[in-house]
Symmetry: none
Subunit: 425 residues, 2 copies
Amino acid sequence: MKIEILNIGDEILIGQVINTNAAWMAEELNRNGFKAYQFTVVSDNREHILQALEDARARADVVLISGGLGPTKDDITKETICEFFDTNLVFNEDAYHDIVAFFDRRGIAVTELNRKQAELPESCISLSNRIGTARGMWFETTRPVGAGSKPAPDSSIYVFLPGVPFEMKDMFTREVIPRLKEKFVPKPIFHKTILTQGMGESFMADLMKDWEENLPPHIKLAYLPQPGIVRLRLTASGSDEEVLRQEVESVISSLQQIIPDLIYGYDTDTLENIVAQLLMLQKKTLAVAESCTGGYISHLVTSVPGSSAWFQGSITAYSNRSKEDLLYIKKETLESHGAVSEQVVLEMAVGIRNRFRSDYVIATTGIAGPSGGTPEKPAGTVWIGIATPERVFAKHFLFGDNRERNIRRTAVTALNLLRQEMINP
Amino acid sequence: MKIEILNIGDEILIGQVINTNAAWMAEELNRNGFKAYQFTVVSDNREHILQALEDARARADVVLISGGLGPTKDDITKETICEFFDTNLVFNEDAYHDIVAFFDRRGIAVTELNRKQAELPESCISLSNRIGTARGMWFETTRPVGAGSKPAPDSSIYVFLPGVPFEMKDMFTREVIPRLKEKFVPKPIFHKTILTQGMGESFMADLMKDWEENLPPHIKLAYLPQPGIVRLRLTASGSDEEVLRQEVESVISSLQQIIPDLIYGYDTDTLENIVAQLLMLQKKTLAVAESCTGGYISHLVTSVPGSSAWFQGSITAYSNRSKEDLLYIKKETLESHGAVSEQVVLEMAVGIRNRFRSDYVIATTGIAGPSGGTPEKPAGTVWIGIATPERVFAKHFLFGDNRERNIRRTAVTALNLLRQEMINP
């Protein structure tokens, strides 16, 4: 069964609005054992909508359309729909009753524009809207002879939903998913994403080559890189979800033998959340001394709700004077080694541990770029220091010259160093 | 001229990744006088990619493809591309030279997988990648007879770009837009976005009602809200860009009469960049004391390249003890007024000014939420303090209970308060 998600809206095509509706629908389909085959976005234009509906018929068994409905947009879209399905608008008493009730609850009178929203194509099943006034529409049509390359089945389902996310989501969950499950047997599918930090995509692929080649053909692997992070998504499809889950867990076990140090979590985990959990579990506290990351590590850890339980605070020392004044870095150390050095990052880590009397410390110093580099210390040169109740150590990195990427890579690398140290002191 | 944006990636179709690349490309096209006609997303699958390339030929003159490139994905995509364009992979010395240089800068040896990235289809113009190792590819093909419904021209342009946003964006701006402008005459269009801070969308719309109704029909207005910020985008289309520019400037002048205090900048300005410019111009320095924003303001200002010239540093004091130790907040003040109070934020501002000996200071304290609120001080209660060479003052705000939104709203509100104070002391 092939599902196409079709979004109608000029605001998406000029980049003003990001198409989160499609992503949400796709995720929801997936959770229910279905898979979107294709996404399409077209403009609020009669010919373009007709063409897209026709094109989709050739590719898909089910077309889920959002956008183009709503009091100011209804006219064009509903007329276009009637043209495509060769039907007429008729006044729907139920729909009108809902619209009146909707405005009654708000103490507002129904306008002519809203009354027209109760006119619906005769051949559709209408879908109720608990949040707004635009009803959804479910059509089942027979495919005309010669109308495209789709082999079977001969019928297509078209479902029209409002574009307003809240309305679309509520209608999708209540009205669309249950009907799809009645019509089609969902295909068991199981996803798990392995989160890694510390090695680039191509080097990891080299290490994982044999493992990857030995994956059973029904388990697919995808590399999803982000600055400093590579996510590995495994997708298994078959006939029994529990079997798939076990198979995926088993291939993950063997991967853990190959890249044990790189894996920090799964699915929706983040490094800051994992560090937060470890700190809570071990009843320890954290403080941060930042130079090149400029407060970003502090921002990441404080974005975790409840972080005030274990986060003491941070100092961002951007000037040399503030490094001396606030972190007790010795003037001699700064002068003889420079601010971006192993000696300074170690003194930062110790300095901030004393300042905040915290159990763990992350310290960073580096040249975020794009300027400020020297031949000896080019932009992207970074030192990360970690202080624990047991020891203090520092590591050197050389990233690129993109400021934003360097800040992100340094932050995730530092959080992962802390995580590793907390697990294996 | 019709442009289709085609994204290749299973991660988009399962809803794991939101298709921000398409939105970004569409916006960039628009800024340059082009408009995306359609978006399509297909899976990492040979047949599906071939079908999508073929379908797009019938609709579009230019197809901009992103995704499917990168060391671990190259194989399928590049072979599929060669099949579609009836060409072969050849080893490209220039591309290999760039790849070697890329890894040399990082002190890493080139792998076989990376070496293969230098193999490119013979018939394409290759596009350089300054950030990663996957080159882009530009093809110009003649449309075969009967290959679809597109009336003219007979040739199609296909451009393949990496899916990693940083790499795609850099390549798109440097290599794609200038080539498109050579081939096609952009349609005169003029955009200007007015950036405002300090009032919600619906209240602003009320204030601006008459102005909005008097806009000429060829100038469209869109409200683009973000936490704490509302962007107002004006889009004018016509036949002469200079005329459009003047018309837009003129309607902006009349808007400035209506909401003078809310406007902080235009287009790609950010509050942190504007504050940076003011500090450089006035040769002043800044320091930050953060509680509820947890380092986010510090992160924003240090994301500006060259910020070390005027940013002294920041202290995030999350615990009461660190507020006393590092910011010299009196124990009595904390005990009698609580950490989230006017008195504390004023002492924070003064304390950090003494610590860093800076000209300007931003201080924040509040309950970011979602928990931690009381009936008297619910989540979203925020105090912002500003210290200048002339005075110290504080303002109170009540936001919502969403942690992420509260952090962002507090940060932009604080930066805007500083901006206003620097302009009108």
